[in-house]
């Protein structure tokens, strides 16, 4: 089912934020590719912290009771703890990265990276959010967006990511047609957005 111009879905304003909004519902791959080295460090540290804390806990409060010698923790449990930490660390990094997309935390580096990527796509006459690559029809794209938008806030309860290339990203494409200081040297020649859109939406 495809939407005609009269039935284009309406979206609410994105939540207020301290920094510039990049994308309100970024694709999973995009969130992961925007991880900072600090996020990888958090991921690694969390994976290590789980089994280590289990060991430390046993030292501080042995399972057999206070003031008894600590028992050895079985390898299987330690491996399970590491796996939990690995998954948890990924979630934590994913949340941090998503917050930068919404401008909830400092995101100067990401804004620059995003502007470079989108400008490049626009100069190559490609749609900035790859909507054309998705096999979903308009209605399913709409639903996919409604399902995954802001779902990272509940990542600590249930994991839900955006795997759909949909056009609802809460930013005005016009902002990529401005040239900010330091962007001249990229040397992109952008095609008008309407022309690019007309090429894909027939």
């Amino acid at each position: 089912m495809s939407y005609s111009k009269q039935y284009e879905p309406v979206r609410g304003e994105p939540p207020q934020s301290d920094y510039e909004i990049i994308d309100v519902d970024p694709h999973f791959n995009r969130v992961v590719s925007y991880f900072r080295p600090a996020d990888y460090a958090v991921w690694g540290l969390t994976a290590a912290a789980f089994p280590i804390s289990l060991q430390v806990w046993e030292r501080l409060e042995p399972m057999n009771g206070s003031f008894k010698p600590p028992t050895k923790i079985p390898g299987g449990t330690l491996r399970a703890a590491t796996l939990l930490g690995f998954i948890g660390g990924f979630y934590l990094s994913y949340v941090n990265s998503s917050k930068r997309f919404l401008g909830w935390s400092e995101n100067a580096r990401e804004v620059k990276k995003d502007r470079y990527e989108i400008k490049k796509l626009l100069s190559e006459e490609k749609l900035p959010y790859h909507e054309n690559e998705s096999k979903l029809d308009d209605r399913l794209k709409d639903i996919a967006n409604r399902n995954s938008q802001y779902s990272f806030t509940m990542l600590s309860v249930l994991p839900w990511f955006n795997f759909a290339h949909h056009p609802y990203h809460g930013v005005n494409i016009e902002k990529y047609y401005e040239t900010r200081p330091g962007e001249e040297e990229w040397g992109f020649k952008l095609k008008p957005y309407d022309e690019i859109k007309a090429k894909y939406y027939k």
Partner: protein, 464 residues
Amino acid sequence: MLLTSNLMFLVYSTLSNSMLMNRLGTMTMMFTFMTYMNSMSMVSLTPGMTMFNNWFKLTTYNLPLTYLMFGMMMMLLLYNTTNVKYNLKSNFYMLLMMSNMMGLMLLPLVNDLLTLYMMMELQSYSLYLLTGLHNKSYNASRASLLYFMMGGMASVMILMGSYYMYNMTGTTNLTDMSLLNDMMNTNNNNNYMNLSMKDYFDMMVMALLFKMGLAPLHRWSMSVYNYAPTYMTAYMSMVAKMSMGCWLYVNSNLFNNYMFMMFFYVSLLMGSYKPLYQMNMKTMLAYSGMLNFGYVLLTMMTYDMSFYVYMMQYVLTHMMLFMGMLSASEYMEKPMTKWSPLLYMHQLRLPNLTLSFMLMLALFSLMGMPPLPGFYAKLYVLTGAMQDNYMLETCLMMVCSVLATYYYSNMMKMLMTSKNDNKMLEVNNINSTNAYMLSMCLMLLLTFFMYLPYLLEGLYIMMM
């Protein structure tokens, strides 16, 4: 994270020993709490947003209580990570706790009648199972079955209510319903069959108050809390009420006040009068919980932010009382049962003066003695109610809390006969984790009046 770890625990619970599983689970919960706090931004949550296709809404109104539930849960989980005298350990405890936590976290955020039912069942089913986890205990199995039957009744009522709501409005979404409600209220000519939408919610509100175990539909909950093992009572007598209460509070613009009013009056009278004839500590505390949630109903009617202050103080006091009771079990030479070693009031003659002092402080807080949290919370509830001209309710609340003081002081009278028994203290001691948690609770309780202004300031900014 909770869902993922729940799936992992499904596999690992069968492989490892229970205490290790409990520790790993507690760590996971702590980490989940950290991630949860990290993923929120207070500035951006005003006015709030909907998630998962409008099924849930996240606002500054429901957020504080989810934090509170996490915090409380963590304290109770820590009790099961240590070696105690009457050891009740099960491999499946964490597994059920995690599924319960998922329901608890999501229930206050619910924005659709279908998800309301689903989340309600997610948290109820895991609670039924948690209650019957120690099925060697005849009483625990009995409690579990009773809980299941009564919970099922309430669920049927919720479904029935949802059917009527859908029949009338053509939607299950609460945002749509509140819009419709506003429209109907402003345009009186268009009043459908002279019934407003709020009237259709009555059935659902009643079912929820039934599940919360408030009077006059409270008899089952008193038995369930009494029969379940003590550490389970500590947990389930609090969380189910909290999450449902939060949902009711957040959506209280949709409901009539009459239903709350009825439950308020009866809960207050029952909660202050019935325990006067009780010798059983757990029953008394169950009634006391009902009384306190009666007060909370008043904040739902006035839609006042004293709701959060009351919840905070009640969680703190409840934790302290139950942690104190569980720690006191270490000294029980002749336990009533191994599942609930301390059950009757006469057992409160403890060989540890510090512990009995702490229990006394918690009881003082429940009475509402300044400068303990109970006093401030009651003060805010009362001023909020008086501002909205709920005069009779305010008076009743005063009378009932005076009545309740009688049975709290009855417990205190027993505690006052405690004497330090060095011989006993050398043999059985509260282990360091529990001692540390108790002392932390005590510090929070005693310094509540110091950090209260900051809490209020934060709440005020959030609610603006």
